[in-house]
Chain length 399, copies 2
């Protein structure tokens, strides 16, 4: 099967891009030099296969086999190439590389597409730089307002608009992109599993059923910078104490409400050993099978933040996302025996599904379940099984 | 009095160097470009007054009026020019600028020094970059081992040795410097007060009596990076929880033990919104009037860190520092009515005192008590009162 050697070759090409020497993890943030290298790689893959490269208004890359139009819409496959800080190799790239490999396999089989097939690389899926996950797909579907997006700042104070310009893209072009969405009537995203569901089920590939409701919130806790040696405890306004109480309250509330809550990112000003902080900014990630319970966790923390003189504001929220039932059944028929799994992770497929595009996901087994970490892994044989599954699904859906 | 206009002029010259646009605070870290600008300024002040500039083995700058020797030792005055992150204008520079202004005032009075007078700019007093406060004075007194110092890393992973080389200094030269210490038999450091003692006492200038025992500790809390959405709470190894418990325990233990404890600096890996941290590194600053009580606070936190699979290691410790009693009495006689204050802040004067150099401090009133913050302040009239007091003290001690 031609897709398998080409998968291996592409995987090796991507391996060094954005890899950190110390940890072996990846630092692939949107609109950076590393991202440009990844986008060039994507464009080269498209060119090598004679696929036509189209950028949408958000700069997401689409490589088309055939010419999609509102009269003959295409099937999109793919995922994203960016990473979380010190992330793994698989989250994102596995879906893009598998998509190219599936096209290679179909061509070797002399497959004639009954309709156009597009491979997509969504920009800034992780939101690692500007805090909003799935920025590329949110922008084109209108789930993220362009003015708000342009004003987002990264840790160095660079705006998203400036970052886009620095990468040669036009930030004034971003916004809802119905033309792009009109070109597709289905999206299948293959992704490494980010839990141990397939390990327990002893299967290499699963079909996704739904994405938990999930969101991100930004917490601002103000204080008063002062000297760590000379300021009496009673005179302090130290926001680190409120931050500590929020961390513990988030875990406790999530346990009580059958959800998960994570405080994984923090920024402290001035962040000096001998200075009481003037400001702690922290982020909450909360998810769960039940949207009301997740929102109740957030409400508890919002109250705590307010009681400390601070604030908790929603940065993003995606409600319970059920993938297209008919599409899921059809994929299930192509992959008999593949288990069906829901996931707590957000994906571009969820954003497109919520925008009315019939969407589906395939998950590839992750032996440890670890993701967003250099230890993220999928066995070579399971990656190949993923390519085979995706090839079969595309052959059926675009045959 | 000639020292007052020259004080104002020098103050204005220093004001823009290392100032941050957003906050108005200062970012003056050792061996940076900003630090080079400050050192050039110091050298120019020395040259303009015909003082001879000497660098010691740690690169601390000394501007000598007269030629000190072991047979005729000099009186040193001065402080430091570096800052904490987003620090104030006064902590450090007030002492250096007042020292030059005092020399100007003495010269206008046709004062003839009975012995050499040296103005010193100690390097890296705040330890903002490499974590060890008073690095310059610790190095020359042997309180900081040169091998340990060279290997210290800043937040970007640059070693202190590389930073010194980048600033044109020789890191192989650092180490105990008895020749430099043999040139002085007294040190008077003028400093902005970092509390509200003088406000309560309604006085512009105080004489320092002692420095509380104080230290810094580095806390490492290991975890396991994983996905914030797909990892069950029970499966997590999230070091942020242990960090939160340490923050609250530090405050509680300090209250109970009549000490102060601050967790003002933290570094989280990978610091992603949707990633459980793999590592939290935090720093503890603890001080108090009683060394045993401070060490008991630290011992409680060390146990907590160990229980979480982590560690707490001492980065620096300075025992209770009483300034020279005879020198203090003599200064008290020159400044009748000036109150006598102890402080929770560490200073180069404390390091020299612990190395056997008779040392003293003058404190200038701080109307809010706030320090290590852009809001740090001293009234213009009080700064001038500080110059007058320092001038009188030098006239007496080096007359």
């Amino acid at each position: 099967m031609a897709g398998l050697p080409s998968f291996d070759r592409m995987w090796d090409e991507l391996a060094p891009i954005g890899r950190r020497a110390g940890t072996g993890g990846y630092q692939r943030f949107a609109w950076t030099r590393t991202d440009s290298d990844l986008r060039e790689w994507f464009a080269a893959q498209a060119a090598a296969r004679g696929l036509s490269l189209v950028l949408d208004r958000a700069g997401n890359q689409w490589a088309w086999w055939g010419e999609p139009s509102p009269r003959q819409r295409g099937l999109a496959i793919g995922s994203h190439l960016d990473s979380v800080p010190d992330g793994g190799a698989f989250d994102g790239p596995l879906g893009v590389v598998s998509a190219f490999a599936a096209v290679d396999a179909l061509r070797q089989q002399d497959f004639r597409p009954g309709r156009p097939i597009g491979i997509v690389n969504f920009t800034d899926e992780e939101g690692a730089r500007f805090g909003i996950a799935c920025a590329g797909s949110r922008l084109i579907t209108g789930a993220l307002a362009p003015d708000r997006a342009r004003a987002l700042l990264d840790a160095e104070g660079t705006s998203l608009a400036a970052a886009m310009r620095g990468a040669g893209l036009d930030p004034n072009a971003i916004g809802p992109d119905p033309e792009t969405l009109d070109r597709i009537d289905g999206f299948v995203e293959l992704h490494v599993e980010q839990g141990r569901g397939l390990v327990d089920l002893d299967s290499p590939v699963a079909v996704g059923s739904s994405i938990w409701p999930h969101g991100r919130w930004r917490i601002e806790l103000p204080g008063e910078a002062n000297h760590a040696g000379t300021t009496r405890l009673a005179d302090r306004r130290d926001p680190m104490l409120a931050y500590a109480r929020l961390i513990l309250a988030a875990r406790e509330a999530a346990e009580r409400r059958d959800s998960v809550a994570t405080m994984g990112k923090v920024s402290v000003l001035p962040n000096g050993v001998n200075a009481i902080p003037s400001q702690v900014t922290a982020w909450l990630d909360a998810r769960g099978p039940d949207a009301d319970q997740v929102q109740a966790v957030v409400a508890e923390l919002r109250e705590l933040a307010a009681a400390a003189g601070g604030s908790l504001r929603q940065e993003s929220w995606t409600d319970d996302t059920g993938f297209d039932a008919a599409l899921g059944r059809r994929i299930g028929a192509v992959l008999p025996g593949a288990p069906v799994l829901s996931t707590g992770a957000g994906h571009d497929a969820g954003i497109l599904a919520n925008a009315g595009i019939p969407s589906a996901m395939l998950f590839v087994r992750n032996p440890t379940g670890i993701s967003h970490s250099p230890a993220e892994h999928a066995e070579h044989a399971d990656c190949h099984a993923g390519v085979r599954a995706l090839t079969a699904v595309v052959a059926d859906l675009a045959g």
